[in-house]
Subunit: 622 residues, 2 copies
């Protein structure tokens, strides 16, 4: 909606409002054409996926497919529309009487351009707004190409939330919580280690002047480390989910990738802040680091609390109103509350991705039980569909942007170095941490799992979006271009060879989701009883207080709360509690077979076959 | 994403990329906050709608409710955030050595601002892009307010398509096509009449200098006529659909409103073009008018063909592939093809709204029969939900924008005059045309229907979006502000009193969709046989050629095509044709009870209860 038009097409006899109208129309048609291109690519991707499935071809994964289609179209756009429309511009400097508070580091937000006709009969003022710093390229930018460049706001606000929410909503919660300790270790410690290893190695590599050709500061290297250290939940979800790999491995890889986004975002901010404080005080500032670490804990805990609170609020709303009589209203409320969670977290400066993940988990754990059967089916199908469309859209977008992004700076030494650095950093993350974790686990993380985690450290859409958020300096453009190469290489290569790798490492998986998994490892509750005390306590609180409070599950509060609170309990117990089925999924378990397949099977609409379990079943591997 | 930040907050010691990062973060948080506000309002609306339904309150319709909530929040925003963040700006003029092709009517698209530090040690160039003409107000614009202003691109590209598609997809096609002649007459002739009546009357009213206080040209009056003459399908759908009014009345009002959008858009262009040609040639140019009329026919027929073609293409794709084995892929393809139709029409400069309407009709008539049962349910539920959310979002947005729009120009005489003008113009549209139509109809349009059509001439979201597209001159701002008042008045008043009006005019309707309608008027085929010959022919082609070609319906092509074409027919007949049910909905009839209610009932998933009819059933009223 940038409202450009070709300077050549303007007839000076036209009135300003006709010009305005033409601009709007032109811009609208360009927007439509751009959108149409992506829709066409998506259609092509859907049809190709079907052909691949139908003919049982498996040499490239669908995310790789989307990137490849995007690359082809991006290349066509880049090499055909070069001669396209041009944008007129005027070079100016600020007049001497301008406010002196403006400077090279604080350019004005807007410019108001006064123009008058030669005979001074008319004059007008036009408003121009800040777009960014230009340094080297004033060349004409073809219009469709410019439009086809990734807008990180769209990615973070529109495409990402449904993907992550769906991950939480349809997650096998048992396996996630069983491996919670390990997941947190990989996500927080592992990503931090990786960030500093990458940063230091890149700084070292860049010190070789005859190879690097450019001097990049330690700060930019660390920012690159932060951007590139987070593995990507979108890609991992797409590939692993589709392959139905071992549930514990899936939980580890997915859990790490979904939580380390927060780590990456905070690390990038931390690096910038530390550098700023240090340059101000002339030395390294320990307080700044502490401040940033406190900030980090706040951001994570805040997002976790907000997500859970919004999920529980939805549960309360659906329990104590008769919204279930109107499934459309009920589904709408569910969707709106979930999306609000993301926006609230982002608006508060927390991490929306963590908030929406825990919101999804709470919605599945509590709210789902209160919904009418129609809404249960609708919500699952809706998020399935959104997830599929948006995932493919993101990868198409990455492919197209590779060629249409105007400010690429390729530094092949930087790219080569970064591949070495991320492999080393991933190894420094996975193997030592797994060794430490295995000291405390009964269900060891085996070597083949560790190798697979090493291999599955895909960098994807989030790294891409983080890198494109700021391309204002040449260093940042090198970082962005290199990130793009790494994303494409890991998605296409690691994605494409996942199946082979799983076979080679002898990790069970199945293509067809209807094949049942072998039974899970039975936990050894004895050894773990001690460690799991906290979790056990939480489980009891959940089963006897939170669940009866938020859902229609039994036992009702009237039986579980202390006698003295009986009137309150009676008030909070819904009259329909008795009418509900006896078997609830109190236990964080949605059975393995419950996870809907990526395609084909409709989701399980009937939750009556959820496993009834007792508290013995709760065990924790860490 | 305009990337503003508070000038006061900038520390001159910071580097440009830190500034850039802060800008992005700030902008992202503002976007999120803005979105969160709308989500909160939507949640409030959903809960209120439920309370109203639960308590059987009916004194205000939900669209009115959404507008009222929007107004309240818009007012709060406008009166509390005045002191908020300010945007820094610098006043500039073009240097003397600038390109002389720039003028007051052709300002540059971009400005490149060169800045350097005082000691000339560094310099930088910043890019600024054109935002629009500023004339009277350089005052500070609070940030959240500015963000909360309606972006017509979002409305036309994102919110409108699903609403109109859903209308076509879930429409009672029989009644629409039965009344097709009348609908076309009202939509094309009626809207044109109304446009010129409003334009002329407004021009007359504005000639009274001591009342109007401003001189508005005939062209702007005609543009106002074009904007305000189109009745609004969004509002009409929301209100009439919810009330389950008489199907023929519904078809007339809905059909008129959904087609006259095209008329309004083209009329606005026509007025501008004629004025331009006339001023260029110094007089009225008949050729220009003819050219525009030709353009108009092209736009409408083009959109109609494109929509139908895309619907049929989807039918072919779903018939000849085994996509139905993967409902998720099938649903995705369905959604993508439908949305592509809209974008393709807009990109080609045709009217997307007409294209997507006919696409929806074709999808329901052909593609729906090829879909798997899961996809049939999914697509209906999905568009139901999208329709509900987007409809309410649009009305909230209108309410909020009333207060947050910065450039209102209120002219009370213009507003008063416009109310008189639109009432007179609506009367000049409905009554004479109904009289003419009744001359040829056996099933007369009764007086109570005519009065209801008069009353139901709501102006809604489309008039609003057309008006806000161009607010570059004071005249256009008066037009916009007046349109806003008319939209709110007609939606709240006419919407709120629809029920009373229907009772008063003795037109049957029912709140509860489960009450069956009385049987339809039986048509008198004898008198109509002559007129309906074309339709009858089309029906035969549809039943014996198009349907067997595009769907699995019987009779198969092998029976209906001439003997000589047998090999071709065999090729085109799908092997699954024989397996399909015998009763198809060949007949444009989805039974009255089939139309899903606005809330509550899930859509009918099983199409096996569609009426089987024979060709006697096809009759045409006009």
């Amino acid at each position: 909606m940038s409202g450009r038009w070709q300077a050549a097409a303007v007839d000076p006899s036209e009135k300003p409002d006709v010009i305005q109208e033409e601009k709007v129309t032109k811009s609208h048609m360009l927007d439509s054409l751009n959108m149409l291109m992506f829709l066409g690519l998506l259609i092509l991707t859907v049809v190709t996926i079907w052909i691949f499935k139908h003919r049982r071809l498996r040499f490239v994964h669908e995310t790789g497919l989307a990137i490849i289609y995007g690359l082809i179209v991006g290349a066509i756009l880049a090499y055909t529309s070069k001669g396209g429309g041009t944008t007129s511009y005027a070079d100016i400097t600020l007049p001497d009487n301008a406010n002196t508070s403006f400077g090279i580091n604080s350019p004005p937000d807007d410019l108001h351009l006064h123009m008058s006709e030669e005979d001074l009969s008319h004059n007008a003022t036009f408003k121009y707004s800040y777009q960014g710093a230009l340094k080297d390229n004033n060349r004409a930018e073809p219009e469709l190409e410019e439009k086809a460049t990734f807008d990180p706001e769209v990615f973070f606000n529109v495409l990402l939330p449904p993907i992550i929410f769906n991950a939480g909503y349809q997650m096998k919660r048992k396996h996630f919580f069983r491996n919670f300790g390990a997941i947190m270790t990989y996500a927080f410690m592992g990503t931090t280690v990786s960030c500093f290893v990458v940063g230091s190695m890149m700084y070292g590599f860049m010190q070789i002047p005859f190879l690097s050709g450019i001097s990049i500061g330690f700060k930019d290297c660390l920012i690159f480390g932060a951007i590139i250290s987070a593995t990507d939940p979108v890609t991992v979800l797409a590939i692993f989910h589709d392959l139905n790999v071992d549930v514990d491995l899936y939980a580890l890889v997915f859990g790490e990738s979904v939580l380390n986004d927060a780590v990456a975002i905070v690390l990038a901010g931390l690096v910038a802040a530390v550098e700023q404080y240090s340059s101000a005080s002339g030395g390294f500032d320990g307080m700044a680091v502490l401040h940033c670490l406190g900030n980090f804990v706040g951001v994570f805990l805040g997002a976790f609390s907000l997500g859970s609170a919004m999920g529980m609020l939805t549960a309360l709303l659906t329990k104590y109103t008769q919204l279930r009589d109107y499934p459309l209203l009920e589904t709408s409320l569910f969707v709106l509350m979930s999306y609000s969670t993301f926006m609230a977290a982002e608006a508060a400066g927390m991490t929306g991705i963590v908030a929406v993940l825990f919101c999804g988990i709470c919605q599945a754990h509590y709210t789902f039980n209160n919904l009418s059967p129609e809404s249960q089916a609708r919500t699952k199908q809706l998020f399935d569909l959104l997830n599929f469309l948006m995932e493919n859209f993101v990868f198409l977008y990455i492919g197209v942007s590779t060629f249409t992004f105007q400010k690429h700076l390729w530094n092949w030494w930087f790219i080569l170095s970064s591949f070495i650095a991320i492999i080393v950093a991933r190894a420094c993350n996975v193997y030592p941490l797994s060794f430490l974790l295995n000291l405390g686990r009964s269900n060891k993380i085996r070597y083949n799992f560790q190798h697979m985690m090493m291999f599955a450290g895909l960098r994807g859409a989030i790294a891409f979006a983080l890198a494109i958020r700021n391309t204002s300096t040449p260093e940042r453009r090198i970082v962005f271009s290199s990130t793009l190469v790494i994303v494409m290489a890991t998605v296409i290569m690691c994605g494409g060879f996942s199946t082979q790798m799983l076979q080679w490492l002898k990790i069970r998986y199945c293509f067809s989701p209807s094949e049942p998994h072998p039974p899970l490892h039975s936990a050894t509750p004895g050894r773990l009883a001690e460690k799991a005390r906290l979790v056990r306590m939480w489980y009891k609180v959940d089963e006897f207080l939170v669940k009866p409070l938020l859902t229609h599950a039994v036992p009702p509060l009237t039986k579980t709360m202390p006698k003295c609170c009986y009137p309150l309990a009676l008030l909070l117990t819904s009259p329909s509690t008795q009418r509900r089925r006896e078997d609830s999924d109190t236990d964080l378990i949605i059975d393995d077979q419950d996870l809907p397949s990526a395609y084909g099977d409709g989701p399980e609409l009937d939750s009556s076959d959820h496993k009834v379990n007792n508290s013995q079943d709760i065990s924790l591997h860490v």
